[in-house]
């Protein structure tokens, strides 16, 4: 739902035209196309998206190892277990932390870079390409590359530490540091995407307002603070939305880096689902995580649209 506004912001020319269809062709003409064109999508979507989601809600009430039929009904026990599990609570906290870091570091960084790349200087296109590059790389590859960077024996961190003469840190093995190391990789991987959103946002601004302000003697910072930033409001909200959605499904990047460890310090909801639900075949518990994730996603999609994207 929210993506309607998401795509709307980027492709602004897609204004809806008032429909001029007054005379509709007869049902006999419409029926073949409906019977031929709709069922494939409808079937796939129902079988592989809607039904599994419903089943997740159903399975979450059972204790089940995935074989035969779920018979051992346990009511809300899986959810109780979940919210008492320290690893799951860490996962929730980490998901929130990713969003916070995204808002406090990633988005300002993205705006700053987008503003710099709006200058007409040589090499802009190349810089833009380089900054977007991490986003197109597979999460797994990016995760492995950074695992090497952080490696205490061979990595860049090891030799950097050696150079300034401190003891080599094993960041990914340290339960207090690991999550920050992961967060740094998240920013590295995704800032280019957010930068692109802001580049598109800046291009759609009305230049005359800024020129008028400049003639009136507003400083660069004033123009940014009181004109550019408020006008970028919808892009900021869009960017926050993508950060939240990305955080909720973060998995591929964590697995090669830490796999959720050490001592579950870097679990996210999806790695928790995988480590505790899938690998141990605790279908009930895993489905309960899925339901929690689903509720958060849907609440977010509707709530966010209602509260923040009303005017866009």
């Amino acid at each position: 739902m929210t993506t309607i506004s998401a795509t709307g912001v980027i492709r602004q020319r897609s204004a809806v035209k008032p429909s001029a269809r007054s005379k509709d062709p007869s049902l006999a003409r419409r029926l073949p196309v409906l019977l031929l064109f709709l069922p494939p999508a409808l079937l796939l979507f129902t079988i592989f998206v809607i039904l599994p989601m419903g089943e997740a809600a159903w399975y979450s009430l059972y204790k089940w190892d995935g074989y035969g039929l779920p018979t051992q009904f346990v009511g809300m026990r899986n959810f109780e277990v979940l919210f008492k599990n320290t690893a799951f609570l860490t996962a929730l906290k980490n998901n929130a932390l990713i969003v916070v870091v995204s808002i406090l570091i990633q988005i300002p960084l993205a705006i700053w870079l987008a503003m710099m790349l709006a200058h007409r200087i040589a090499g802009v296109v190349l810089f833009r390409l380089i900054f977007f590059l991490p986003y197109v790389l597979a999460e797994v590859a990016a995760g492995l590359i950074w695992r090497f960077v952080y490696d205490g024996d061979y990595g860049l961190f090891a030799s950097a530490a050696h150079l300034i003469g401190v003891e080599t840190p094993y960041v990914l093995a340290d339960k207090d540091l690991a999550i920050y190391a992961v967060l740094a990789v998240v920013v590295w991987k995704y800032f280019g995407f957010h930068m692109m959103l802001f580049i598109a946002g800046l291009q759609s601004l009305d230049k005359s307002v800024l020129e008028a302000a400049e003639i009136d003697g507003a400083s660069g910072w004033q123009r940014f603070r009181y004109i550019t930033l408020p006008l970028l409001g919808s892009t900021v909200r869009l960017s926050v939305f993508f950060a939240v959605v990305g955080s909720l499904q973060l998995f591929d990047l964590i697995m090669p880096l830490t796999g959720g460890g050490p001592f579950n310090a870097t679990q996210t909801m999806v790695t928790f689902l995988f480590n505790f639900g899938v690998t141990r075949m605790q279908v009930g518990l895993g489905s309960a995580v899925g339901v929690v994730l689903f509720v958060i996603c849907v609440t977010l999609a509707f709530g966010y649209k209602r509260i923040f994207m009303r005017n866009d």
Partner: protein, 282 residues
């Protein structure tokens, strides 16, 4: 700050500030990638003492051994097959459904479109366990289709939305004229809508191809024999096997991400536009 740029010349001070900052950030992006590629040419001792610089002695055999083995090619092939099937199925199924939403009036159309849009709201991970059980029960476990079908289904919401918006923005007169002249819907779709839709077909293809090429969690759960593994699973296995022989792992990573980087630089305009147009799965 930005807009003086278009009118006035940029002061030298500003220019220095811009280039220094941009180069610094570019270095943070590129150094890990370059050390990975160079690291693949080193031996382990060299890697330990000197991860930044050029190799003391070049070891191209790290790369050539992988290139002459069949493991690398098999994984790339698996990824390519899965991605191609995903793209073809996504484009055809969602273009057809979107066409009915754009041009055919029927009872419940609005409701049905919203039904598909539910798919935009949650990631595949949410339903991964029931999906696994379903794929297992219909006997598609450890087959390409076991990965492709869920992947296509979860991409449908986005693709239908993109196609529908595009179809609606094609000139309405075309459609009116064709229908009045007695052209059927299906012929109109095939001979007029599709040929005019190349840009959106490209966008949807790019989104679903990149998504499939990089995807990890679905194949991880649906495939269980290594000969079926696409490359993201393959490099994880490779790393597990060669443990701390980082030089080999680095060479392997470099070779697997090479196609992505080459294609990205060749088709950057389309890829950036495509991915920012519909990147829900960021």
């Amino acid at each position: 700050m930005t807009d003086t740029a278009s009118t006035a010349r940029i002061a030298t001070g500003t220019k220095i500030y811009l280039y220094v900052s941009l180069t610094l950030i570019a270095a943070i992006v590129l150094v890990p990638l370059l050390t990975t590629a160079l690291g693949g040419f080193k031996d382990l001792g060299d890697l330990r003492t000197n991860p930044f610089g050029l190799p003391a002695t070049w070891h191209p055999e790290n790369y050539t051994d992988i290139l002459f083995g069949d493991r690398y090619w098999r994984q790339m092939m698996n990824s390519l097959i899965i991605a191609t099937l995903t793209v073809c199925l996504t484009v055809s199924v969602s273009a057809m459904a979107a066409f009915t939403f754009a041009h055919v009036k029927f009872f419940g159309a609005g409701f049905l479109l919203n039904y598909f849009l539910i798919g935009l709201m949650f990631p595949a991970a949410t339903a991964i366990l029931p999906l696994f059980i379903r794929i297992r029960d219909i006997g598609l476990l450890n087959s390409y289709w076991g990965v492709v079908l869920p992947q296509v289904s979860f991409g449908l919401g986005m693709s239908i939305l993109l196609f529908r918006n595009y179809f609606r923005n094609l000139p309405e007169e075309l459609f009116q004229a064709a229908i009045v002249d007695g052209c059927g819907y299906i012929r109109f779709f095939w001979h007029i809508s599709l040929p005019l839709s190349r840009p959106i077909i490209a966008t949807v293809s790019i989104i679903s191809f990149v998504g499939s090429w990089n995807s990890y969690i679905l194949p991880l759960i649906m495939l269980n024999s290594e000969t079926m593994y696409p490359w993201p699973l393959g490099i994880m296995v490779y790393r597990g096997e060669f443990g701390t022989a980082w030089q080999l792992v680095l060479a392997f990573i470099t070779l697997t991400i090479m196609p992505t980087i080459v294609v990205f630089f060749l088709a950057q305009k389309h890829i950036i536009a495509g991915l920012t147009a519909g990147a829900v799965k960021s």
